[in-house]
């Protein structure tokens, strides 16, 4: 049995300022505070508790504004499931995005990859191979595009922002080309059934999300892959000098993100029983926003899968809240924007100061 890496909430021991000081360097002011925000335990757990608090607050707002609906427990349960279902596709994409961002990169092409994989797996030729062929195609397309991203970034030395922005444009273009700008109907009952099947009263899509999140958590917190991700994102030079193959790992991170996009493409195609080049529009923004709200540092090196999941669920809950109150999408987007800003501001306060935030950025990108 492994207690794992959860530090049992230890008090930071007092730090002797003379002992922590180093001479001649402009060092970050090393304080005892560092010790409680590291790792996947202490601080991450605290922050996630705060996010759960936000979710509860949203629930209370819902109950206050639509007490008529919330008085019915069956409706509340069904509504929660519909929120989770709403969160499931973006949630899967967000797990991959979390890895990429912890590893010091960013992937703007996720929405486009979902669209390309969705369109490719619903071509007439592919549908002839049945459900297995469609799933295989979606995943292969997703991973392949991710490998292209990763190769450009790791070995072509392109900035992740640029490489994946280019891929965003190119992949959507290719998707439009393949589909001839038409909506492609999925005739496969098994695929379509993924979105409509319930197991023990819970939608299959929610199980898929849970499985991907669980796998992502284990991968990040319990495997050498996860450890390398944190090292590569936190200090690529240190990782390299410790013998870690930073380029290969960077490549794999984008492939992982592509894999998640392939899975999401199947889920989204099943939901719509069709695919088209414009599907999964702006998923990259939803995923990045969820990762940020979840407390992952945009400069890399630290983050949690659970936080990202909570970020996605918070967004879905807000969408749901506005829908049940009959409010506009525009108002909804404004609130979401505000929440992203608030989350980043809270991050900066927690990391001591804005200057430290920028210094970390400089360290990890140089």
């Amino acid at each position: 049995m492994s207690q794992g890496t959860q530090p049992t909430a230890t008090q930071p021991p007092p730090v002797d300022p003379a002992e922590t000081a180093t001479v001649g360097h402009r060092t970050p002011t090393a304080t005892g505070r560092l010790s409680w925000w590291h790792g996947d335990g202490g601080e991450g757990a605290k922050r996630n508790l705060a996010l759960i608090g936000v979710l509860l607050a949203l629930f209370v707002i819902g109950a206050a504004t639509r007490s008529d609906l919330y008085s019915n427990p069956d409706w509340v349960w069904a509504n929660m499931l519909s929120i989770l279902k709403l969160a499931s596709v973006v949630g899967v994409v967000t797990v991959g995005m979390t890895f990429v961002i912890i590893g010091g990169g960013i992937d703007l092409s996720v929405g486009a990859i979902v669209a390309l994989a969705g369109v490719w797996c619903t071509t007439v030729a592919t549908q002839n191979f049945g459900a297995g062929g469609m799933i295989f195609t979606a995943i292969v397309v997703g991973v392949a595009v991710g490998l292209v991203n990763g190769t450009l970034i790791a070995y072509g030395r392109l900035v992740p922002f640029i490489a994946t922005l280019a891929m965003l444009v190119a992949a959507r273009g290719l998707a439009a080309e393949i589909s001839d700008k038409q909506t492609q109907i999925s005739h496969n009952g098994t695929i379509n059934g993924i979105a409509s099947t319930n197991l023990l009263g819970i939608p299959l899509l929610v199980y898929i999300l849970a499985a991907v999140v669980a796998a992502g958590w284990v991968l990040l917190n319990r495997t050498t892959f996860g450890r390398r991700t944190v090292a590569v994102g936190g200090n690529p030079e240190a990782a390299r000098l410790a013998g870690i193959n930073v380029k290969l790992h960077t490549l794999l991170l984008y492939a992982l993100s592509g894999l998640c996009c392939g899975i999401a493409a199947i889920m989204l195609t099943a939901q719509a029983t069709s695919a088209q080049a414009a599907m999964a529009n702006l998923y990259e923004l939803d995923a990045i926003a969820a990762v940020i709200i979840g407390g992952t540092l945009l400069s890399g090196g630290r983050g949690t899968i659970v936080g990202s999941l909570l970020g996605v669920i918070i967004f879905a809950t807000i969408t749901n809240l506005f829908a049940i109150n009959g409010l506009s999408t525009e108002a909804q987007n404004m609130v979401k924007g505000g929440i992203i800003v608030a989350a980043v501001l809270i991050q900066q306060v927690q990391f001591g100061s804005i200057t430290q935030f920028f210094r970390r950025n400089r360290l990890t990108t140089s």
Binding site: P13, V23, G301
Partner: protein, 517 residues
């Protein structure tokens, strides 16, 4: 030499800057511990001292970056204390740092007037600014540099001229130059010297810092020597003072280096590392060396002599352009850290924080950064095993605090260094490359690190050590290589060398050799 005539005139100019008993402490260290300095208008005053003698701190005090804790700074007869660098600039003290602080993508004129652009109604007077820049460049003898040219497009020497133009745009009366020749090619140094002479002829005082004694002899009027934060000699004549005199004033030290005794009769094993003809253009050339199992080999040299680059190239962090690196007879693939680590090398790089540590991560994960894969099974990490191994290392190296779940960023420099060294005590490291292992490390932790290094060697690990501190190299190493300007100039057993000999070799004015006199 024509420049020599000015000497007497300069040393009789009025005193513009006088420092009396200036003290500056940082937590744990007295960086300046009673500095005296007197600079006259129109003279080139050279500051000499080893790394860590306090030169940089002194410059920063004068530039308004640091404020002294005590002592007097008189500038043109008035006691001053600059609140910030802008204040120092405004009162006429300009500093040219070694890493030129120019904005590469702005023009020459924009850089020269950065922060105090001539304005009218909030708009920059571009024409006026270009005209004044041209005039200043003319004064510097470089009227050929177009004010509109992007700084990025200029060679190193041109950038330095722009830095000086910036100083003059502030009407500086004192210009501080921190190792200005370090970034220049041989033939450009003559030009630098000519510019400095022109500045002093206009009555501007120059504080000139350089490690190159020959340069100081050619350009300097008087020399002040710093050692361990104190002035050990002031106002020596730059040309007449014998080299041995200067060197001994720089080295007669008060900090005690406590080296563990050399274990008697430890036998050195077979050749472990063989480096032949290693070359990287512009960094170092034709470096050959060997390290035997159980042997400590030290490389002495100044910053910029290529010593760190050699170490990183052996480790595969830089790709060799020529030459070979063999570990136990097998040639390593150039430019592959992975291959070096697999062959049994480990490195503690020069910059702990930026090159070796994940500051926000716990100690144990930093200790096992190179080995966590070994404790893993089927790709799953074994955190409790890692903590146990890290605990053992923390115990052996007497890390404080002992709790390996603490974030590494909270440790002192010495303990952080123990984490980096400790990383390579796990696994089967046969050769340890140490780059400035005691930089920023306090005296106590220093002695402990020395002990650790000796013990490792006694266990048969080969050690290749780079340090700017000559006593450290001499006290720790069995064999010493002296590097200067990318080449190994001397290899000898440590017992055959003393500090002054090494310093002479390290600082010999080879820069001026071969340059037109």
């Amino acid at each position: 030499m024509s420049g020599h005539d000015a000497t007497n005139e300069a040393t009789t100019g009025e005193v513009v800057l006088r420092l009396t008993d200036v003290v500056k402490t940082f937590p744990g260290v007295r960086a300046l511990d009673g500095v005296q300095l007197e600079v006259r208008a129109g003279e080139v005053h050279c500051l000499l001292g080893q790394n860590g003698a306090g030169k940089s701190t002194l410059i920063k005090v004068l530039a308004g970056v640091h404020r002294p804790d005590s002592g007097r700074v008189e500038w043109r007869g008035e006691p001053v204390s600059f609140a910030n660098p802008q204040a120092a600039m405004r009162s006429g003290i300009a500093t040219i740092y070694q890493e030129l602080d120019l904005v590469e993508d702005l023009s020459v004129a924009e850089n020269a007037f950065l922060g105090h652009e001539p304005r009218r109604f909030g708009f920059i007077r571009r024409g006026h600014m270009a005209r004044r820049t041209r005039e200043i460049l003319g004064r510097l003898g470089h009227a050929e540099i177009p004010p509109g040219r992007m700084v990025r497009a200029l060679p190193a020497a041109g950038k330095q001229v722009v830095s000086m133009a910036r100083a003059l745009s502030h009407e500086a009366r004192l210009i501080i130059m921190d190792e200005p020749s370090a970034v220049l090619a041989h033939d450009e140094v003559g030009n630098l010297i000519r510019i400095v002479r022109e500045l002093t002829a206009q009555g501007i005082a120059v504080i000139y810092i350089s490690h190159r004694l020959e340069e100081i002899r050619e350009i300097g009027d008087r020399v002040t020597v710093l050692k361990d934060g104190r002035t050990t000699a002031a106002n020596l004549p730059a040309r007449e003072t014998p080299t041995s005199d200067l060197v001994s004033r720089m080295t007669g030290r008060t900090i005690e280096y406590v080296f563990p005794d050399r274990p008697a009769g430890t036998e050195v094993g077979g050749e472990l590392l063989q480096v032949e003809g290693l070359t990287r253009a512009g960094e170092f050339a034709d470096v050959s060396l060997t390290v035997r199992a159980g042997e400590i080999v030290g490389i002495a040299g100044l910053v910029g002599s290529g010593r760190s680059e050699v170490l990183e190239t052996i480790y595969g962090a830089r790709t060799a352009e020529a030459g070979s690196v063999r570990m136990a007879g097998r040639e390593l693939r150039p430019g592959s850290v992975g291959a070096a680590v697999r062959a049994g090398m480990g490195m503690a790089p020069e910059e702990r924080k930026s090159q070796a540590l994940l500051l926000g991560e716990p100690i144990y994960r930093n200790v096992t950064l190179a080995t966590f894969g070994r404790y893993a099974r089927f790709g799953f990490t074994n955190a409790s095993r890692e903590r146990a191994e890290a605990d053992r290392i923390a115990e052996d190296l007497e890390m404080r605090p002992r709790d390996v779940r603490r974030a590494v960023g909270t440790l002192s420099g010495g303990n952080q260094q123990k984490v980096v060294v400790g990383r390579w005590l796990l696994g089967d490291t046969k050769l340890l490359l140490l780059d400035e292992p005691t930089r920023g490390v306090d005296v106590g932790a220093r002695a402990e690190l020395y002990q650790v290094i000796r013990q490792l060697a006694a266990q048969g690990v080969g050690v290749l050590l780079v340090s700017s501190e000559v006593p450290e190299v001499l006290g720790l190493a069995d064999r010493v290589l002296v590097m200067r300007e990318g080449r190994v100039v001397r290899t000898a057993p440590a017992g055959e060398l003393d500090e002054n000999t090494v310093l002479d070799l390290v600082m010999a004015g080879s820069l001026m050799e071969g340059a037109p006199a």
